[in-house]
Symmetry: C2
Subunit: 646 residues, 2 copies
């Protein structure tokens, strides 16, 4: 944490990425990002032609990506190429975290070169967006609803902060502060300013991040303005459409629910629209609540959180079932095979969850953060760091496979930057304490107020739930340590220096240990991982009569490679205690679960469509593997929700 | 059968409607059509303004129905109003059958008045179509693909035949013969003729019907031409689009699979496209096969039949799962809640099945005819004859209800004419025998070759499977009687004059009794009706782990009015023998089935979306009623495929 980032009051903030050195499960994943993904992402930006657009020393390239079309077939005002700046920004951010992990002069030189392009692109007034400087000059800020300008700016602010922390180099940070100053002058309630905000939220959380790093209060204030202005009347997107001479009714998304601007944010009670946009908005709102100590915003967020997690979330932490709006539909509408559940949306849910912890440790949020992380988000990146999922269905007939790239390449760098930055999600740091939100082998150099504390976690988590935590201090110090007891764990056990910590105080699902800590104090936390069968709320029609197999934070699935095809022929018993775990070297040593099940005998069926002969069954053993690891081996069918015995 | 309709060789043809006097179950339904539906249909045509369009003595009205729009939002060349002639035609046909049943001078006068309108509408050259004479004059025959002209002509030919049989009045028949002559001159392979055919099949089967009634061979030949020309290259719809200056790629249905003209009919092996169109085509093909004694067409039809009934048909006999094309999608894609399964499509499947019996009795076809009749077709008409279903889902959350009318009013008169004409579906008459395809209380005046035979069925079918058949003859006569043994019946029993008929010859699922019959011979057929649990082919994802309850030809469903809501909480046992039947006076005396089941206790569930607590159950008794009777009482949820015990 730099000197500028000192909290002004007692919220919990994540540590900076370099403060947490990951080993074990996450160490391996971060190494794959550092060794492969970061450079792959860079190379694919090159192949896509992104730098031809960004670099002002090159000729202006032709438009390469098709324009979206409206429902009436006419070209819309937006295409994917318009937000390439944001994709490059996430690549820079990923590279920054990769450089924390491992020096890589070649990668660093490439990123420095990109930063020069952006610096050269910046206009005298501070404006900087490759599309509107080079591809459509003169049209800046005339369509905030669709054109992603502030969204691109936000991602570049995040990249600038990350790269500054990684390398100490200020060039991009300075560029983005000038751009932020320009944005601050352009937008706001005063005469001559535009009372607008971005159709795709992101700038709000990015301004908070930039403000925390630079200490610039104006950035925090502007973030709050964007949050509070959203959805106010007269509606900015109506006004700007009229100014462009466009009819709002021609908009292909039809309703401002799509971008959460249908009503002011404080009046919102239902999670709606484009899933990533919603999560980024709520993340920004949570940041504003933390920075402005504003529990009125927190109350709104609590309602939205309950709405999302009790009615609109897949068991993988995936969200946004529909491809049509990349987002939410009706309550309990969670189809498995057609689940959109974009990788970015699960990442964004983690981001929101992480920020909800800013008001204090609470298992409500950390449990879901972990659920999304280990399942619907991590599924987006192959073990080797080379391939990606964009959408993350919970059932596949065998035709859904990892991409090497995507026309809309938002997800690959989003999951890569998240994996590489995972250390910052593990802890929350406050003036008087440290919260351990996630478990994983690592060494974290933190501070509780003025006290420097090094925490060392030794664990095979998530393979098992035994976690040793050693506290290193220069001198004895009093502070609170919060240890999360995951909701999936029924009987946790804790020792301190070998002695059971009995009836320790539980607060919101965290063991709260406030004491005078000594250097070398050693905690042993045992979180037994039973194989569990999860049942969905019966209103989830798609999961009726089915169970999801889980162990610890991991949701499991059946794959054809282990079980032959026809995974819907498998029927799991009510009692899962006969299950055994098997180490899978080809899946990075992950544990598979073998379970005696029934298999409905489909080949025996007649060719008749309807038949009075009841199905026949055989006893067999099915193998389940962690969902996030699916499609890392031979391609085939996959199924999360397995038919249950009744 | 009129003198003109004598078969030319040994196919089986349906008797004319007035030759079969229905009583019992069908008698009640026909009375409802005669007493109510026929006049309701007429009145709704009046309300819709159809006669303002048809009657040339009135001012030309404005266009009242919206135009369809293409995918690109531009108006298409077709609207529903364009085929109002066909709707009126089916109303005339329904009225004709109603007049067979019961004289009704008021209704007859109204129909006579409509016939005068059509006669006045007819052009000097014989052309007659209200849309293209009055609404878009000068545009006739320039878009066979979309504009339904030959389809309208076909339905009016069917109406003309029916009205002629009912009343002996030739006026409409003469009009339609003149129109048929004009069509015969206009279409064909010769110079100056159009080598076209209709985008919506119907004219083929109608020309056969008109040819059978009038003895005019040209009509049969033209039907064959339309069948054989379909899908030939150069593709007629491409050619006519080019002549209109239209781009075929702009067509909203995109592919000629939609109207089964993608390849010549003899090459077709997969049932595709719009369901009603497909069934009407196959009906026409089957008629052509019968009239031209052409088993090469029959072989094609057998393949299509197998394709439809083994991979693409709901258990109700409903077909065409998708609203988007009102038709077929992928094999085994049979979603229940979103099932389109248009009433017209089930009726049209009956029509095809009935015509497949033209080559000889075969349970393959008659079983499906009965399945569609008693379930997916009859569901389209309320008990009182006043309300209609257009689409027939197999599951409803309580928001699907019968219409008093429909924007596209094809289904109400289609199910009404079918119910009123049901007698003609019950028998097949050949030169040397009579086939009993369906059972129901009736007296049928038939002829086996030159021998007049009166068959009297006495039965409560479908309430139970006891059928008494008395044969009345003027003199002893030798002919074959074919009695269908439904596929659902495992142990049929038959006596002749009180003595068991042992090991009688079975041919294609029919008991074949060829003997010298005496006046007064009495057959007693016993078709025991067990309550059955039907299992779907496991590739039908929507029905996996579920069963459909059936008894005799009836598919049953659960309704909220009998079982409270949450019908998906019901779980039926493997053994259905504890079931009992209950007479339901409010459902016309139909038998309900009461069955001990488990109910998953949903109110007890926590508000959590995912939970390790397994569901709890209570024992209860569920009531199931015939599917075709659903939504005749208090509105609510409905479910056909009930969760089964595993």
């Amino acid at each position: 944490m730099t000197s500028h980032e000192r909290p002004r009051f007692s919220g919990f903030r994540p540590p900076a990425v370099p403060d947490v050195e990951m080993r074990g499960f996450w160490g391996n994943r971060i190494d794959a990002v550092a060794d492969k993904t970061a450079m792959i992402l860079y190379e694919r930006c090159v192949s896509a032609g992104m730098f031809d657009q960004i670099d002002p020393t090159r000729p202006v390239p032709p438009v390469k990506m098709p324009w979206h079309t409206r429902a009436d077939g006419t070209p819309d005002t937006v295409n994917v190429q318009m937000f390439w700046d944001s994709d490059v920004a996430k690549v820079i951010e990923t590279a920054a975290y990769a450089l924390y992990r491992k020096p890589n002069p070649d990668l660093e030189a490439k990123i420095d070169a990109i930063i020069v392009m952006f610096a050269d692109l910046q206009q005298p007034d501070g404006y900087m967006n490759s599309w509107f400087v080079r591809m459509q000059p003169g049209q800046r800020w005339n369509n905030l609803r669709d054109c992603h300008e502030l969204y691109c700016a936000g991602h570049l602010m995040e990249a600038a902060v990350a790269y500054f922390h990684a390398t100490g180099k200020r060039k991009l940070l300075d560029v983005m502060c000038r751009y932020a100053d320009h944005i601050d002058e352009t937008f706001g309630p005063n005469p001559g300013q535009k009372p607008g905000y971005c159709g795709h939220e992101e700038i709000e959380l990015a301004l908070i991040r930039l403000g925390r790093t630079t200490g610039e209060q104006r950035y925090l204030d502007l973030a709050r303005y964007f949050v509070e202005q959203r959805g106010q009347q007269p509606h900015y997107f109506d006004v700007e459409a009229a100014a462009r001479g466009a009819a709002p009714s021609q908009w292909r998304h039809k309703t401002y629910l799509y971008n959460q601007s249908h009503i002011p944010v404080r009046e919102q009670t239902k999670v709606v629209g484009h899933a990533v946009r919603a999560m980024y908005l709520y993340s920004g709102m949570a940041d504003v609540a933390t920075e402005f100590d504003d529990d009125s915003l927190t109350e709104t967020l609590k309602g939205l959180w309950e709405d999302l997690t009790s009615k609109q979330m897949y068991v993988t932490g995936g969200i946004g079932p529909a491809a049509s709006n990349e987002g939410f539909t009706d309550y309990y509408d969670l189809p498995n095979e057609t689940a959109y559940a974009e990788t970015c949306a699960a990442v964004a849910l983690m981001m929101w969850a992480s920020r909800m912890l800013g008001r204090g440790p609470d298992r409500h949020y950390a449990d879901i953060m972990e659920q999304a992380l280990y399942n619907g988000a991590l599924s987006g990146l192959s073990i080797d760091g080379e391939r990606f999922f964009y959408d993350n269905p919970l059932e596949s007939r065998g035709d859904h496979h990892r991409w090497t790239w995507h026309r809309c390449p938002c997800c690959p760098p989003n999951i890569a930057r998240t994996v590489a930055a995972i250390g910052s999600y593990m802890y929350g740091v406050a003036a008087d304490g440290i919260a351990v939100h996630l478990y994983g082998s690592n060494t974290a150099r933190l501070s509780a107020g003025a006290t420097a504390v090094t925490l060392t976690q030794e664990t095979d988590y998530p393979t098992n739930g035994r976690v040793g935590i050693t506290i290193s201090l220069e001198a004895p110090a009093g502070f609170a340590l919060w240890l999360r007891v995951p909701g999936w764990c029924e009987v946790p056990a804790l020792t301190l220096n070998g002695k059971p910590v009995g009836q320790s105080e539980m607060r919101d699902g965290y063991i709260h240990l406030k004491r005078e800590w000594q250097n070398g104090d050693r905690l042993e936390l045992e979180l037994p991982m039973q194989v569990r069968a999860l049942h969905a709320h019966p209103a989830v029609r798609a999961d009726l009569g089915r169970v999801a197999i889980a162990r610890g934070p991991l949701i499991y699935c059946a794959e054809e490679v282990d079980n032959d095809a026809d995974l819907n022929a498998l029927i799991v018993p009510e009692d899962l205690t006969p299950s055994t775990t098997v180490e899978m070297p080809e899946l990075g040593g992950a544990l598979a679960i073998d379970l005696p099940v029934r298999r409905e005998l489909w080949p025996q069926r007649s060719g008749r469509l309807y038949d009075t002969h009841p199905p026949e069954f055989a006893e067999t053993v099915a193998r389940f593997v962690p969902y996030h690891l699916w499609d890392n081996r031979d391609p085939g069918q996959m199924l999360v929700w397995i038919r249950g015995r009744r």
